[in-house]
Amino acid sequence: MNGKFKIRKTPLVLISVFLLLWLTGIVLGEPSRVLEQACSICLSCIGIG
């Protein structure tokens, strides 16, 4: 091992916060909206819309 092992807590806090946010999105039903959008052609992305 290179040096001493000291666990870094900040990434774990950040991961927990974003996991909570992600779960909130699921509870609010956002994945179905994301899926709906991703399954239709985005004319703006193509440069037409």
Partner: protein, 300 residues
């Protein structure tokens, strides 16, 4: 290590673009996998795309936030930001170096022999402007009479969208040709500029324009998996400066938001174990990762 990275980039390219039935279907993939977030910038209107692009989806949710609320839906983008944040807090810009199809595209272009130029550091700040203004503020604030905004970054800037969706979709669906106007030409021009710029400079889009890279860069200091600078081992030989594709001086700014964690400095330059890979505080032994020839080293 560099060969491994190229393989990983290729695997991610095919994972994010795994629908090869589009020449028959003449359309984009519409299956359930599209609820999965693409780690790198990858247009979901690309006919082969099997995941959603976080930057595209975030704009779509923000531009229709009022409309959603009027209809009793609370779509604030939490699912998308949560996905992006999970990737950012775990890997930071490792994603850019290892899993972004458009990053790979720029790297391949940069292999074309030509004179090479550096990119002024001041231009690095522009990508934060694109993230704040084109991805968040403008789609959220400028709305029409139906309370709908526009996906400003996708519509006016994104060269990945033009390359992966604009060109192939127009070829697949000739009916779309009739609708081509200045918007399409503007996006083609932006793509051409980035193609030429990528030949003469390393990853110009990632460094100056990519809003996803800007988002991930915010985590580079605090991410779970990162490169660690072991100052006591550093001899200030500056070998790490010469190999870096992002023109970072690792020994001076080890937590730079520009670092895409390609690990060239660690595996190809540093001979003194001054750079190591660290996971949550635990440094991996360097001998596992560094077996290639390094700068200034001769193989016997």
């Amino acid at each position: 290590m560099e060969a491994l990275r190229k393989w990983v980039q290729a695997v991610w390219f095919f994972l994010a673009n795994g629908f090869w039935g589009f020449p028959v279907s003449q359309n984009i993939y519409k299956g359930p996998l599209k609820v999965i977030c693409s780690p790198g910038l990858n247009c979901y209107s690309c006919p082969a795309s099997t995941t959603y692009c976080p930057i595209g989806s975030l704009q779509q949710l923000l531009l229709s936030i009022r409309f959603s609320l009027q209809n009793g839906h609370y779509y604030f983008g939490t699912f998308v930001v949560g996905s992006m944040g999970l990737l950012g807090a775990t890997f930071g810009r490792f994603v850019c170096g290892w899993a972004c199809p458009f990053g790979l595209f720029q790297e391949l272009l940069h292999k074309i022999p030509s004179v090479k130029y550096s990119i002024p550091k001041k231009l690095n700040w522009f990508k934060y402007g694109f993230l704040a203004l084109f991805v968040v503020i403008l789609p959220l604030v400028l709305v029409d009479q139906f309370s709908l905004g526009e996906p400003w970054f996708c519509k006016y800037i994104c060269p990945a969208g033009t390359l992966e969706a604009g060109i192939p979709m127009v070829l697949l669906q000739p009916g779309l040709k009739k609708t081509i106007g200045w918007l399409y030409l503007n996006k083609m021009m932006i793509l051409v500029i980035f193609i030429f710029w990528s030949v003469v400079a390393s990853r110009p889009f990632c460094r100056t324009t990519c809003p996803l890279g800007a988002f991930y860069s915010l985590f580079n200091r605090y991410r779970l998996i990162k490169l660690k600078f072991n100052e006591e081992n550093c001899t200030q030989c500056k070998a790490c400066h010469s190999v870096c594709p992002m023109e970072i001086r690792f020994n001076e700014t080890p937590d730079s938001g520009e670092c895409i964690s390609c690990m060239k400095c660690m595996t190809q330059a540093c001979n003194y174990d001054a750079i190591s890979l660290e996971i949550g505080g635990y440094s991996l032994p360097n001998r596992i990762l560094t077996s290639g020839k390094k700068a200034g080293q001769t193989l016997t």
